[in-house]
C-alpha cells in the first residue's frame, strides 16, 4: 500500500512496483485514508510519505505509527523529505522490526529502493545511508563514536542499515570473522550489551546516539 500526496510520484511508484511483480493493494494521498485502507485489507507493507495534507508536517509518520501499533506484522517504510532524527527515532522507538526510514529522493535510485522493500519484508530495519551518516558523523567530545576507528565506523554504518554480518562482510570484502571482531569492539566501545539480534543492536545504537 502506498500513501503519497504527489499524484505524479504515486503513479510512478505504482507502476514501478507493478513492474517488479508487487501487488499494490491501494494508493492514496493522505494518512487517514491509508489507515482506513490498511484496516480493510491488511497489506504486507506500507510505504508512506511523511509530509502529506492537510498540515504538511508529519501526518504520514503518525499514520505509520498507528499502523505499526495496530498491526505489528505490517512492514512500514517511511519516506522523508529531509533527514529528521526525531522522526527516525519516533519510528524506531516502538520496537525495530520490519521498518524503514528513507529519504524520499532515494526512491529515484530504483534498485536501492526495491532492495529496501525486500529487506523490510524480511523483517529487517532499513535506515537511509544519509540518516546513518549523519548519526555516525556527529562527533562531539561526549560522543563515544569519536573513539571508533574508520573501519569500525564503516561496519557500524552498514550494520545500522540493517544488513546481516554476512552481507556486511560481502560488501566490505572482509571475512565474516573480522566483521564480527569489528562489531564486537564497536559494542564494547559503545558499552552495549551484545545480543544476536541485529535490529535490537541498531536500535540500541540509535537510542544511544539520540541521547
Amino acid at each position: 500500500m502506498l500513501a503519497e500526496d504527489s499524484t505524479l510520484l504515486r503513479e510512478g511508484l505504482v507502476r514501478l512496483l507493478a513492474e517488479e511483480g508487487h501487488d499494490v493493494l491501494a494508493a492514496v494521498g493522505d494518512g487517514t485514508s491509508l489507515v482506513r485502507e490498511a484496516e480493510a485489507r491488511t497489506p504486507d507493507l506500507v510505504v508512506v510519505d511523511i509530509r502529506m495534507p492537510p498540515t504538511h508536517t508529519d501526518e504520514g509518520l503518525r499514520a505509520a505509527l498507528d499502523i505499526r501499533e495496530r498491526w505489528p506484522a505490517v512492514g512500514v517504510l517511511v519516506l522523508s523529505q529531509h533527514v529528521e532524527r526525531t522522526y527516525a527515532a519516533r519510528l524506531l522507538s516502538g520496537g525495530a522490526e520490519r521498518v524503514g526510514y528513507l529519504l524520499k529522493d532515494r526512491v529515484a535510485q530504483v534498485d536501492e529502493f526495491l532492495d529496501a522493500l525486500e529487506r523490510i519484508r524480511a523483517g529487517g530495519v532499513v535506515l537511509d545511508p544519509e540518516v546513518v551518516r549523519q548519526l555516525v558523523l556527529r562527533s562531539t567530545h561526549s560522543d563515544p563514536l569519536a573513539g571508533l576507528t574508520p573501519r569500525e565506523r564503516t561496519v557500524l554504518q552498514e550494520l545500522a542499515q540493517g544488513r546481516t554480518n554476512a552481507a556486511i562482510a560481502q560488501r566490505l570484502h572482509l571475512s565474516l570473522s573480522s566483521v564480527e571482531k569489528h562489531l564486537g569492539s564497536v559494542f564494547d566501545k559503545l558499552e552495549l550489551p551484545s545480543t544476536t539480534e541485529y535490529s535490537r543492536r541498531v536500535l540500541a545504537v540509535l537510542h544511544y546516539l539520540k541521547s
Partner: protein, 396 residues
C-alpha cells in the same frame, strides 16, 4: 496643503484626523462667534466660583479639594469647547482625560482668546458702523472727497489689521484645542513607533510566509517531478524489452521538460526578474499571460516608480490575481495601475463571488508589504462579489 503632498497616513500630525474638506466659512464663523459666548461663560466661571474658591486655593489644607472642585467645572466647559470644535470646525479629538491643572490652563487660555476675539469682532462691527456713516455722509454730500480719502485709507489699514487679528485668534483657538485635546508630540511619536514596530513585525511575518511558500513550491512541485523523472529512468534501465525502455525514456524526456517549466515558474513566483530588467509593465504583462482568467490591464504612470514601490505594486497585483484565479470563480479581472509621480494607486477587481478574507495569509502578507511603505490597502469583498483590492502607495 495640496492633495498630492499630503501623506496617505496622517498619523495625527495635525492632532486630528483631517476632514476631507474644511467646513464652509459661515459655519466656522458661527463657531467662532459661539466661541465668544463660551468665553464669556468662562469669564463668569472664573469670576464667581473661581473668586469664591480663591482663598481655599491659597490655604494648603484645602488647596487640593478646592482645585478639584474648580477643575470639575472647568472640565465641563472644556467638554463644551470640544463639542464646539467638533460641530463647527470638524475637529475629531480622541476622548482623553487631562489633569485638573491642564484643564484649568486650557479653559483660562481659551477664555482669554475668546474674549479677545469678541473684542476684535466688536472693533470690526464698530469699523463697519463708521464706514457706514462715512458712506452716508458721502451720499448726502456732507463729507467732501478730500475728507473721505484719508479716512478710507486709514479704515482700510485698520480693517486689514482687524481681519488679521481675527484670523490669528481663530488659529490660536484651533491650536489651543489641538494642544489640549489632541495627542501630544510625544504621543504622536509613540503612536508612530507602535506603527513602525507593527509593520516591522508584519514584514518579518510576510517574509517567513513567502519562504514557506517557496519551500512548498520547490518540494511539492520541482522535487517531486525530479524524483518521478529519476524513477522513470531507473525503470527504463531495469526494463527487459527495448520497446518498454524506449517508451519510458520518451516519458522521461517529456517529464524533464515539465520539470524545467515548473522550475521557471517557481523562480518567477519567487521574484520576477523582468521587474529589474524590463520594469513593472513588462512584469505585470507576465502576470497577465500566466493568468487563466481573461485579464484587462490599464497602465498609466507619469514617471517610473522607485524600486521598492514597484516591487510592492507588482506583488499586490500578482497576489490579488492569483487569489482571484484560485478562489473567486471570476470570469474577468481588471487591473489598473495609475500614478502621478507622487503616489500610485493599484486596483485589482474581479467579478467573482467575493467574500475574500482580509485576514487570510495572502492578503495579510500584502497588507504588511503595503504597510511597510506607509501605504494603504483597501479590500472590498462583499458576499456575491465583486472583489476590489486597492493599494495606495507613496512614491516619496
Amino acid at each position: 496643503m495640496d492633495d498630492a503632498a499630503r501623506p496617505l497616513r496622517d498619523s495625527g500630525g495635525a492632532g486630528t484626523v483631517p476632514a476631507a474638506q474644511p467646513f464652509p466659512l459661515p459655519r466656522r464663523a458661527a463657531g467662532a462667534l459661539l466661541g465668544c459666548c463660551t468665553a464669556l461663560l468662562g469669564l463668569l466661571y472664573f469670576a464667581v466660583p473661581g473668586a469664591a474658591l480663591g482663598p481655599f486655593l491659597l490655604w494648603p489644607r484645602t488647596h487640593g479639594r478646592a482645585l478639584a472642585l474648580l477643575a470639575g467645572g472647568a472640565r465641563r466647559l472644556a467638554e463644551l469647547e470640544r463639542w464646539r470644535r467638533g460641530v463647527f470646525f470638524g475637529d475629531v479629538f480622541p476622548v482623553h482625560r487631562a489633569s485638573g491643572r491642564a484643564v484649568l490652563r486650557y479653559v483660562a487660555a481659551r477664555t482669554w482668546t475668546g474674549v479677545l476675539f469678541a473684542f476684535v469682532t466688536g472693533l470690526l462691527v464698530f469699523g463697519a458702523v463708521l464706514a457706514g456713516l462715512l458712506a452716508a455722509g458721502v451720499v448726502r454730500s456732507t463729507t467732501s472727497w478730500q475728507e473721505l480719502l484719508p479716512q478710507a485709507a486709514l479704515g482700510g489699514v485698520l480693517l486689514f489689521l482687524d481681519l488679521q487679528g481675527l484670523v490669528s485668534l481663530g488659529a490660536l483657538d484651533a491650536r489651543l484645542a489641538r494642544e489640549h485635546f489632541g495627542p501630544s508630540a510625544r504621543e504622536l511619536l509613540e503612536q508612530r513607533i507602535d506603527e513602525l514596530a507593527a509593520s516591522r513585525a508584519g514584514v518579518l511575518e510576510a517574509v517567513d510566509t513567502e519562504r514557506r511558500r517557496i519551500e512548498r513550491d520547490l518540494h511539492d512541485g520541482v522535487q517531486q517531478r525530479l524524483v518521478a523523472l529519476a524513477m522513470l529512468l531507473g525503470r527504463a534501465r531495469r526494463n527487459r524489452t527495448p520497446e518498454q525502455a524506449e517508451a519510458l525514456l520518451r516519458q522521461a524526456h517529456k517529464e524533464s521538460r515539465d520539470v524545467l517549466t515548473e522550475l521557471r515558474e517557481v523562480a518567477w513566483r519567487v521574484y520576477p526578474s523582468a521587474l529589474d530588467s524590463l520594469g513593472l509593465e513588462e512584469a505585470l504583462g507576465g502576470v497577465a499571460e500566466r493568468c487563466v482568467i481573461p485579464l484587462r490591464m490599464e497602465f498609466a504612470l507619469a514617471v517610473p516608480l522607485p524600486r521598492p514601490v514597484e516591487t510592492a505594486a507588482y506583488f499586490v497585483v500578482s497576489e490579488a490575481v492569483t487569489n482571484a484565479a484560485k478562489h473567486s470563480g471570476a470570469t474577468h479581472i481588471s487591473v489598473t495601475v495609475r500614478g502621478d509621480g507622487n503616489r500610485v494607486s493599484v486596483r485589482v477587481r474581479d467579478n467573482g463571488i467575493g467574500g475574500a478574507d482580509p485576514a487570510g495569509s495572502g492578503l495579510t502578507g500584502l497588507r504588511s508589504r503595503v504597510d511597510a511603505l506607509d501605504g494603504l490597502l483597501h479590500i472590498e469583498s462583499p458576499p456575491k462579489g465583486p472583489t476590489t483590492i486597492t493599494a495606495e502607495l507613496l512614491c516619496a
